[in-house]
Assembly symmetry: C2
Homo-oligomer: 306 residues x 2
């Protein structure tokens, strides 16, 4: 089954959204209005055997599930308010293991100022061995009247930037489980505060550089050019690995004008420019052999792992 | 594994909630404050083989998953704002079946004025055969300054009432899959509007009369007496079945003073009284043989099915 086709169907089906909805499916979080107040919400799943390896420690699964959803809050430069979680627990798990998972979810939520205030736990049948955890996050726009940052706002000529480095979360054993990342919530709020309306678009790097940039480019009706020589890549990681590495959870954004080279403790690197020279959604990589389109390189098109 | 023990652990762990949270785990929905605005949210799971039978039609699963979460909005006398959904799809499902599930979720959400504005779809490994669907609902307090109705507000002497009838959703084939219920959102808002501050507590009837009343009684530090002769039971259903039938999704509430015998199209029946004569959480059934405590009769203590 082609997940992208399903997602396209969902986005198309909800193209005309009823009144309280401002941002619908297709961005990192949706946005709704209640009595004039804007509220953001989103939900993500972590499935054993897909996003974490079979038999992973419950503490690590709980951390990853919560941090992954919180990274979507960072991607919109929003401020977390709270979270909800569900767990469908394998029949083979005992009470201790389940409580360790719940505690990890709660502690991670608290650490990133998105306290857990509801959820649901159910035990799966004995022959169902794979844990399914979901985390819903609620968030609000950053204070002082600033807007959230979506995937739709990129403009021709925008510089394309990313925080941190590519390959930063690839495990030393190459397992690619990406358990140690930190959602860039503070950095995103700081960026929004510094750049204000010059911060045009943002996403968190979760599916791979090409696929994630393609999402911004398509929604903003642009193409992009990326300079391979400028990519901030960890020493022991190849350019191919770096481009395909999905779960980096760094911020990928576009802006006009001057952009600082750090935000809080994190380096910022300019890696390219949004242009209109190519087909909408094309992400052209230069200076790594012949120029090529990397817009399909990323998680969605791999078969195994995470 | 004892799910009740896990849930007790979670409620205890979140006993002291950080500032934005007003209602934490343990009620039908949680409540949070953003810039002075109150917002409610909750999430529930529907698992194939547990809440719906294996191989159920995707339209029915989608309806049930959405309606079940919306019933929690009714239980708080809140007004739905929007919804998010996730699905972990069995490897054996094809694209058509998956789209039918997504469409059912979206159409049901729209019908009950909780438009779907985000979610996540992932395909399970080939050997994982059971669908897991979650629905998150967002809601706001009813208009004109009225409060939401929780499980904590019952008072000694309150009449105990329910809408509709017990056994109303039991399938004709006795399968007990409870697919046809309607979340009582409009009726709950109307009740809140009529009774105002005299509506002291409410829950939706999802785990069984005894278990659900026990939840209100425990949180309100009361016991209750129920008159078996007054219970509104469908003709072909025994009193034992009626008491244990969980997924009725009728409103169960307590109030002081006069209560009308209908709300919109739905009958209201007084079935008992909150008292302080017995141990906190006891639900004593009278007029069905010797007086007995039914506070443990309900879904949680059955082993099979839904």
């Amino acid at each position: 089954m082609d997940e992208s086709a399903i997602i396209s169907h969902i986005i198309k089906s909800t193209d005309i959204l009823p009144k309280p909805i401002i941002i619908g499916p297709g961005d990192d979080l949706g946005m709704i209005v209640s009595n004039g107040m804007k509220l953001l919400a989103g939900v993500d799943q972590v499935i054993e055997g897909r996003h974490v390896k079979i038999g992973e420690e419950p503490e690590k699964i709980g951390y990853k599930a919560m941090a992954r959803s919180l990274s979507d809050v960072a991607a919109m430069a929003a401020r977390p308010l709270g979270s909800l979680a569900t767990a469908a627990i394998p029949g083979s798990w005992d009470q201790d293991k389940t409580i360790r998972l719940c505690d990890a979810l709660r502690e991670t939520a608290y650490r990133f100022e998105a306290p857990l205030f509801g959820g649901d736990i159910a035990v799966l049948a004995a022959d169902q061995e794979h844990l399914v955890v979901t985390v819903t996050v609620l968030a609000e726009p950053p204070s002082s009247g600033r807007l959230v940052t979506t995937r739709r706002g990129a403009v021709e000529g925008d510089g394309i930037y990313m925080t941190g480095m590519l390959g930063g979360t690839i495990d030393d054993d190459g397992g690619g489980d990406h358990l140690e990342f930190t959602p860039r919530i503070k950095q995103a709020l700081e960026l929004s505060s510094i750049l204000e309306e010059r911060l045009h678009s943002m996403i968190d790097l979760s599916d791979g550089l090409g696929v994630d940039l393609k999402s911004i480019a398509q929604l903003s009706e642009l193409s992009a050019v990326i300079d391979a020589n400028s990519l901030p890549i960890r020493d022991d990681v190849t350019i191919e690995q770096a481009i395909q590495s999905g779960e980096e959870y760094e911020l990928l954004f576009s802006a006009t004008g001057d952009v600082p080279d750090h935000v809080l403790d994190l380096p910022i690197t300019r890696i390219g420019t949004f242009i209109t020279d190519h087909a909408i959604g094309s992400i052209m990589l230069e200076n790594d052999g012949p120029v090529r389109d990397i817009s399909n390189l990323g998680w969605q098109h791999r078969t195994g792992g995470q």
